[in-house]
Symmetry: C2
Subunit: 564 residues, 2 copies
């Protein structure tokens, strides 16, 4: 064990060269890295039977220049017209842009890109300056039946930004990325859709200095992809943040939306509730660019009171006890935690090892009945008013103790918080050595959480030497979300794809939802009709025909609305 | 004053004779009455300049038999076929049923009915036994292009149940009124749409005895029409209960729906959240019978803990102070009250008079700076876990005090609770003497609450001798709902209609929503396109064409989807 720990692969520590595939594949800032810990390395060597030699040569690093073998298929006069609309500098057709703005961050597409497979590319990338540009572009493209796909932060994990039919890709993160207004009376913020999470949160935290407000605010929405996700993306994909148990999902936080569609431009009202028939505001949530383009959004904001935040963590002796306590917390009618997660036995044990739990602590835990591959870690935070956070924490402590849990102070929770956005950075390092880490998630109800957990785990573990770590996060009185992390050694994209699709099928077969917060895109699309049923799928198709009769909005399989 | 108080009109105290118009007009149980208090009488005499003589003769009591001047226009073979489907006894074509199941409870239609005006009537009333009956009836009616309108509890205040094109009216409250299942793990209840509020709440409160559950539950939804509203009605009209500030609106409480539509039958999933594209579950909320018929619904339920309920009431020195304190409470991030209302100065003062506040108490209030036609009453409850309700009440007290309010204990709140469902019973008495009491409501944001309040009040008060009492109820961090009660003396239905439509126009013109929880129906329908804009209205029309290509579902103006 000691010997293995000392071994440390030659992780890449330099920013990818400009213009290379690797610069497209790499997650996050080009200069930011988070390498697998020594614990990770020994775990992988052990699990996958790898030796130091296996970590000596990197494969498919994607160092090659991003070059396309196909010309722009869009007529030059269209490109010129787009330049008239959005400005010369905002319309590009270089190979790099055509690839960079065509890819999200699924394991599958990263594997392909690294090996030189480029399936889809935009014909032209436009960086619209404002919503008026978007309206003119959509009108023009509709008239000439040119596909329009939206790209914002590019962290899609479902092929949702892939320009399946080529055409125009609109990069909304370039210019349309501003916080336009804070309405302090209503506690809302009017935002451009391409604003990235950190810039948005920073502006809200510093609202007194930037907007002259009397208070500081928070957006309340912190998905793992926070650094590379946008406010508009949260809404159109039905995202959910790590603190959603308290603040709500993106669909709860958005209060009004403005869309440009081939069937016209509209803005929904900003009332917190209305009884005015079916709400177009609701209909557009989760439309994933297939009905139109979100060009402005009004979000609820919340008072920022980090001084009141409380951290907690507990160890349960079993998954069942952790689930039962969590249900009691969510149904207890005393308020809710913000972050709340319970890790299953495999995730708990791997986590303890990875974070280097001292052996005497482990021995202590075992003595107290918290045994390896049975015990489950729970961690989280409480946010809000100070008296409220004190009360909710007290209640959580009581319920956890009643369910046999041991309080571990807030240490694990604080530690988790520090790295909560940076886990995806490890993917480059792992892929350099042919190791794939991927995640899938599903909503569950309390009465089927165990069936889904067991069913999906059984499928994943049926593949030899495959790790499966699961946690529940995003809690509701009626259920939660199960998040499956699987890690496997393979460089064969076809094998990976088949296996990964098998996980999706295992989720649905065992009773989970097709997606809790990752959206549908093109990856889940083939399963959507089976999941919703033909009648509900026909409703979506009918809306598609209404908004987009020429099928130009993110065409080619998005949401399963047309043939991929 | 003393003289007037002694005078008491000869209120009707007998149940309406069976088969009469009055038995249709009367609100609630035939044998239940709630007469205006002596305070009410003196207030009306004073405001309307009425004398005892004006209260000596009742007008348009509707004692006549409910008789129709038109035959069933539906072909007899259709009626026979409906009998084959739903059973002989469940298909009726008598005049009384054709009228009774064709009317809601707007002031306008009650005025008309009393004077013998019967505008619309069903051709045949069917009492389906179950969802299979509904599916067969809808399929048959779709094939033969026969209009289908749904009637449940009949307390609609927007002409939403009026069979504008005749045809079949389905009375869902007769047989489809059962609580089918309580899922205690998920805290949900599966319910038939025609179950009335009290029966539903009673079953949940007594769930251990009736369903063998370990706990008692509450539905959390208590509209003023609770006694004469159904679970399905709450959902399809986007209702909101008096405790919505804590429990949420009907759209938040419903978790899954099953519909029969001409385009097929479907059931939405029961997950508390999903990122699976636009949700048909959302699309159907508020569809008001125009897309299809809700035949089963799964609702969130909540732990029933009346022992923890706290009552509070406060007096503020001004409407502005009451609004500011309320906003602070709703945005304070410490939890929320369940019931919460603030009455404007006119409602507060009339309320104090009506409830007979002793003059020494009034003098005391005035001395403390709470002056007539300035002061505002706030009342409410806190529900949930005991420690939680204590905390929330403490916070509310502190904020109210900081805004200059005086604590009045929970007395007013308890008093309000006792009669909260029975106010509508007074309408028969008032109408007997040509006095109309009506209400309209609107969502507002915090930054336009004063503009809407003043704008609508100005319109109502522009009519001489017209009372206008307003309160805010149903609160959110982003705004609230304004509820306008206007009382006027007129027996002229045309005058009333014109004035009442003027209130709607004043609401929208001053920036309120077209409806907060009364729905659209046919009354608001002519305003809907102007309110939503053409683009959003076209989305609803396109959904209508999808679900109901033959326009048989509640046709004739409902939601403004076809011509009235």
């Amino acid at each position: 064990m000691l010997r293995k720990k000392k071994f440390r692969p030659d992780w890449t520590e330099t920013a990818p060269e400009a213009g290379t595939i690797r610069s497209i594949v790499k997650y996050g800032s080009p200069c930011a890295f988070k390498h697998p810990s020594d614990g990770w390395v020994s775990m992988m060597m052990e699990e996958f039977g790898m030796t130091a030699a296996d970590f000596s040569r990197k494969q498919d690093e994607g160092r090659q220049k991003a070059v396309l073998d196909r010309p722009v298929s869009l007529d030059a006069r269209h490109v010129e017209r787009l330049k008239d609309i959005a400005g010369e500098h905002n319309v590009v057709t270089d190979d790099y842009s055509r690839i960079r703005y065509a890819y999200g961050k699924t394991t599958e597409e990263l594997m392909e890109l690294r090996t030189g497979i480029i399936k889809e590319a935009a014909d032209v990338v436009v960086h619209p300056r404002d919503k008026a540009d978007v309206a003119r572009i959509v009108a023009y493209c509709n008239e000439h039946v040119i596909p329009v796909t939206v790209f914002a932060a590019g962290s899609s994990v479902n092929f949702g930004v892939r320009p399946a039919r080529g055409g125009v890709t609109l990069a909304l993160g370039t210019h349309m990325n501003k916080l336009l207004e804070i309405n302090e009376a209503n506690q809302t913020a009017r935002v451009q859709p391409g604003m990235f999470g950190p810039a948005y949160e920073d502006a809200l935290n510093n609202a007194p200095e930037r907007f002259g407000t009397s208070r500081r605010y928070t957006c309340g929405h912190f998905p793992q992809s926070f650094e590379y996700s946008t406010v508009g993306g949260w809404v159109v994909t039905l995202g959910s943040g790590q603190a959603s148990t308290y603040y709500g999902d993106a669909c709860d936080i958005v209060i009004s939306q403005e869309y440009v569609t081939p069937a016209g431009t509209f803005r929904t009202r900003e009332f917190p509730a209305e009884a005015t028939g079916p709400k177009v505001h609701d209909i557009m949530k989760g439309s994933e660019g297939a009905f139109g383009i979100l060009v402005e959004v009004t979000m609820k904001i919340f008072r920022f009171m980090p001084e009141n935040r409380k951290y907690f963590s507990f160890m349960f002796s079993s998954w069942e006890a952790a689930v039962d306590a969590s249900r009691e917390i969510m149904q207890g009618e005393f308020g809710r935690p913000a972050v709340y997660r319970i890790s299953d036995p495999e995730e708990t044990d791997r986590g303890l090892k990875l974070y280097g739990i001292p052996s005497f602590v482990d021995a202590f835990l075992v003595r107290r009945g918290y045994r390896p591959m049975e015990r489950c870690l729970c961690l989280g935070t409480v946010e809000g008013d100070g008296d409220y956070t004190r009360l909710v924490l007290k209640k959580i402590r009581k319920i956890c103790k009643d369910h046999g849990a041991m309080c571990l102070t807030g240490y694990a929770s604080r530690k988790w918080e520090k790295t909560r956005f940076t886990e995806p950075y490890m993917r480059e390092d792992l892929q350099d050595f042919g190791i794939q880490i991927d995640t899938l998630e599903a909503s569950v109800t309390w009465d089927n959480i165990h069936a889904v957990h067991q069913g999906v785990r059984a499928y994943i573990k049926s593949r030899p030497r495959t790790m499966c770590m699961t946690h529940a996060s995003h809690f509701y009185p009626q259920g939660t979300n199960l998040y499956f992390i699987f890690i496997m050694r393979t460089s064969d994209v076809d094998e990976f794809r088949t296996f990964q699709r098998g996980v999706i099928e295992a989720i649905v077969k065992s009773g989970g939802s097709l997606s809790h917060h990752h959206g549908i895109g093109r990856m889940m699309a083939p399963y959507l009709e089976g999941y919703l049923g033909k009648e509900q799928m026909e409703v979506l198709k009918s809306l598609k025909r209404h908004f987009d009769p020429n099928n130009i909005m993110n065409p080619g399989g998005q949401l399963g609305l047309d043939q991929a």
